[in-house]
Amino acid sequence: MPLSTPNDPGAPAGRTESYDLVVVGAGPAGLAGAVAAAERGLSVALLDGDAQLGGQFYRHPAPGLGAAAPEALHHGWAAFDALRRRWEGSGGVHLPQHHVWTVAGERAATPGAGADGASWVVHAVTGPDGDDERSVAVRGRAVLLATGAAERHLPFPGWTLPGVIGAGGAQAMLKSGLVLPGGRVVVAGSGPLLLAVASSMVTAGARVPALVEASGYLGYARRPDVLATGPGKLVEAAGLVTRLLGRGARPYPRHAVVRAHGTERVEAVTVARLDGDWRPVPGTERRVPCDAVAVGHGLVPRIDLATALGCETRRTVDGAVALVVDPAQRTSVPGLWSAGETAGVGGALLAMTEGELAGTAVAARLRGVSVARPSARTRSLLRTRARLRAFADLMAAAHRPGDGWPAWLDDDTEVCRCEEVTAGRIGEAVEDLGAGDARTVKLLTRAGMGWCQGRVCGPAVACLATRGGRGAEQRPLPASPERRSPAVPVRLSTLAALDPDPGED
């Protein structure tokens, strides 16, 4: 039985309202998982820091902003709408603007403990920025972590100038506020996202004087045989390219923006050709005037909540760290499931597929149903997942940052913006002081200790940390995923007001 009415913002979850399943993240994966579980009779709470359902892909205009036809900006709208309607009819509880800062395991002996004897308390702070007084804890017999991914940034000289923004950020700005970052937008970096971003920019009326892709992606995007194995939306890539070219966007495959110029804000970029390792080829630089640069190098899974609990991780083909999950989307920690980008970046369709698999598996598990013979639907989902994962790996391999990218840094390029740590200082920590991983670089330079806690510079610092330096012949060191806790900032007063644990006295 669902425990309370769905989508009623006036119905606060009590401090420890209990649910069968607590889903963290209401993107395609979390939403699909919540729907699958709720439709199978589980009570489900769906928490997200955002005000609205949909996550990254469906980040849509807030009601009232007067966007007449958001679907012009994104094609997945129909699928999302269907999922959202099913959710609304499912009896699940949506807790928007709930930023989860930790998931705590309860003692196995707790009465009413859930799957695998575990029971979880999911702690969240509330409000648009998590700054409201009210904090909330919900208890779940199972937890599905569907926290998605964050953009990977690789620094270059000038990247801190106003007007240089993340590609995903530019897209999100456009999707949610319908604002263009500038009239002439250079779109740069690597990954399939760039095409979508460039296309959105053009559709919204911007000029894209350069679409700069570090890999040879634009080449294979024109190969329908490769793309045919991919998800529908990416098949559209070829079409996107054609459309972009028609609108005057100039593609630069195997190139990178190696410098942004400007005083008050960005006025131009230097684009250079890259060799196979992503090292700029001398003499190939050219200057491209622009008002804004949207730059990103793909996505990295957002797995802080999971790694804090000790979930096993793996290195993905493109060098990111993702959660290890089994065919039922279970993590290595009993009672914890994960779906979507957290298990490896692969697009919205894969996220929805995994979400449904997870929701179905949790329902079977909590209701004690044997899954020895998966249903036809589950078998079909498993096939879809296998196909999409294989495709995602192909893409990831194509867009893996080349080892030579740090060649486009100067010693005084800021790598960590919060703490103003330069590439030179990181180099020193590695060469002279014996730092061999991102954590030690952080301790020795403060890179990643500031406001964003390394969420922006982390992947770049990790790259720089594991190159060269003293004792280099013994590298690579074992990958130690950072345990970043809490996942979002929490006020001291919120911590002080937590329920005391009677067992600890």
Binding site: H123, G436, R439, L443, M449, G471, S485, P486
Partner: protein, 391 residues
Amino acid sequence: MPTRHPTAASDVIVVGAGMIGAACAYYASRAGLSVTVLDRGPVAGGTTGAGEGNLLVSDKEPGPELDLALLSHRLWLELAPALRAEAEFEPKGGLVVASDETRLDALRRFAKAQGDAGVVTVEIPGDRLHDLEPRLAEGLAGAFHYPQDAQVQPALAASHLLRAAGARLRLGEEVTALLTGPDGAVRGVRTANGSRLHAPRVVNAAGTWGGAFARLAGTELPVLPRRGFVLVTEPLPRLVRHKVYAADYVADVASDSAALQTSAVVEGTPAGPVLIGATRERVGFDRTPSTEALRRLALGAARLFPVLAGVRVMRAYAGFRPYLPDHLPAIGPDPRVPGLLHACGHEGAGIGLAPATGLLVSRFLTGTAPGLDIRPFRPERFSPELLGETA
């Protein structure tokens, strides 16, 4: 420069590139010995990178640990000023506050005994507390100021000491065996990649893993992990000037209980964030977040500094202090394995006690008089049958 020669010999091999290993390498080098330091991870990748950098005399009762702390205090001040600066050394002083008269009385007795042992203590009456700490809570009974308490950033301290030592550094290399000769004496170590490194002396500076290393070396040292959590706030203007903690803390440190004990030590850092630490629990190597530990730290800190209540915590991290049953480190030669020395088990004070430990180890290595009663630190003290032979 790391050497590529697989059988390169040095006078000493130090196992562990934490604060203790760094200090051992530093003082051994200064005594003229050639040193190789090995670690399976990066520099400061163990407990040194997971704790705080309080150099405290204030929390130690008169006895062997206080003697080590006072010696360390002198040694910190003797280090080259540039090295101290690199380590972010700050002689900021500690302030131990008592909430009521009973606690203040106890603290007064404690401070008196410390004073007799050489600690500088200054009583601060309740109505003068805000001269030292303007943001401290109202209504506290009084406090003691300990000007000798200081602070460093542990990872910086360890890495810069190591650099100053000029030791050969081999990182990412786990020591898997002790090499001994036919007479049982140490000859060197073998590492996971098959390298054999030669030295007549090996120092066990493996911290919380010192017990495991001792076993691997064919001897015994009952080092156990004691978990601690630390909270880190968003960067703030200087709100907290000293290391401030409540008087109950002193009781926790010496406790034998395995349960969670908390007394928040609150301190500002040069970069802005306030550190709040640390809990003490014996739960093995479990890093999963404990909301109870966070609650108690937050509560303790907000009681001392109400201004912190609205401040955001950016991060909470856990580390594992290396502790021995009598809460004293093991420092010195192991009579069971000639050539093996131990320097581990410093529990919650390894950063502070590192220089004294390093100096003592270098004196053992060079056969110089230690200049301090070292019997309380003898590694074999947990094997009573051995004590008679070596006393």
